[in-house]
Symmetry: C2
DNA sequence: GTTGATGGTTCATTATTTGAACCGTTGGTT
DNA sequence: AACCAACGGTTCAAATAATGAACCATCAAC
């Protein structure tokens, strides 16, 4: 791995639970030498990608990421374009809608919207990293990814997150075949035991799957009619978002979705 | 300069006008060897910081910047926290309010808000890079920066952007001393000839200047009473934002602002 | 005052980065 | 159809930058 990769990997040290980290701990967490970390961080700091704060001189993500994100959004209005649709989806279903994008080998939630309809709802956070095998969004994407990429993503052991999590690769493959035949993925209690969700893939120009759109519901509230509403609304919203992104839903998928409704 | 710095500098190639760039042109623009660029870009691509698209295999900023920005915002709610205040400021003044942050040696606009009050207004864009010497935001920050940092930022030749731009370093220093004595900066036609603006510094916890808050007005509309309204509203808004950021306006500045009103 | 943790620095050793020249492909021109 | 120029991408000896054990200064706890 090159030096740049090591530097960029340091950025993944920062999470919501651990927003700022000291030099020694970064070295510990990354497995790199303290001097190396220091040099990499200093170099990233000079470009504003990280910054150092407080008396403890801890590091955290810097303001440059805001500028880059703003630039990316004006060039490729992914989040901003999808946001209103996401809010409409939350309103129409009365549940939590969320949008995730593939980022290398990670599946990252980049936007979500709540509905005010119920006091209990599935809560989400921006920049959450979702497990591929245990979420409907992950399964929806996996199912429509080219086989080699799919296999690469499920090559690692599949952790058991709840009692319902599928951890057997072959049974997961069978599950993904069903998803592919159906056009949408559903999971119940596989990621968090009291949440259930339904997701469909999202396509960029060129018919590549780049993300997934999902609706998450507390298991206690799921019922056949809500289920039907969600299936209808999520496919409509996915079509809309795909169009806003300048892509088009592949004809095969449209056919599947029409059968779903 | 280290390898990481070179890689990160490549990110600055991407601008709003030039959102996606091919390999050869990146090499040309950066002055680096094509093979070097390729390796750096590939490494950044593997981390999602850039992505490659289309038949021409051009590069652009990748989805990882969205995740990092979301993470930064949850850790340090800079933009999200300031946004409502910015909108209120635009409404109260009837003009365009904008917020810029210092990022190394750059001054970057990270948020703005328009007022619906008038058909003509000063337009802005996210991620715009502002010249230090020719904008009120730049001057407001420079004036309250420690001397060594100020001098470093005005060490380069000061380009003449309009007929009114101050290009003489010594006269700029005198101008900044006035700003420091006044507590706010004003420019008229120094950046764009038909825009006039007023800005005040913003402070992070620790009394460091980290940005500026400004209001921009078409020159044709500026009048003494609007001027007074803007001075009042912008200082109120700046106090609010500084508080939201967990900092406090230094007592000296508060005194200056009270005299302004 | 000792201990152990922190952030940061040094510099000989080592491994990575570098770039001229190369390949294969594409798209336009003669 | 032959040619050319520009593209993205690759190669490998030479040049350069990264590395890390040991170091320093500082701080807080005991």
């Amino acid at each position: 791995m090159g030096t740049v990769g090591k530097a960029l990997d340091l950025l993944d040290i920062f999470t919501r639970q651990r927003a700022q980290v000291g030099l020694s701990e970064i070295a510990r967490l990354s497995g790199l030498n303290k001097a190396t970390c220091h040099r990499l961080l200093t170099e990233m700091e000079s470009r504003g990608l990280v910054e150092q704060i407080g008396a403890a001189r801890e590091y955290r993500l810097g303001p440059a990421v805001l500028r880059l994100a703003a630039l990316r959004e004006t060039a490729v209005p992914t989040r901003d374009a999808a946001m209103p649709v996401l809010q409409a989806l939350a309103r129409a279903t009365g549940e939590t809608a969320h949008l995730s994008l593939r980022e290398g080998d990670k599946l990252v939630t980049i936007a979500f919207a709540y509905s005010p309809a119920h006091a209990t709802k599935v809560m989400m956070e921006d920049a959450d990293i979702l497990p591929w095998h245990a979420t409907s969004s992950g399964q929806a994407m996996l199912a429509f990814l080219p086989e080699d990429q799919r296999e690469a993503l499920i090559a690692h052991p599949l952790p058991r997150l709840t009692a319902a999590t599928e951890t057997d690769p072959d049974r997961l493959r069978a599950r993904l075949a069903e998803v592919r035949a159906l056009g949408c993925a559903e999971t119940a209690g596989t990621f968090e035991s009291d949440a259930q969700s339904l997701a469909v893939p999202l396509f960029a120009p060129g018919d590549q799957v780049v993300g997934a759109l999902g609706v998450a519901v507390p298991v206690s509230r799921m019922a056949p009619d809500l289920h039907a509403v969600i299936r209808r609304e999520v496919t409509v919203a996915a079509t809309e978002i795909t169009t806003l992104w300048g892509g088009q839903v592949p004809p095969g998928i449209i056919a599947l979705w029409q059968r779903l409704i």
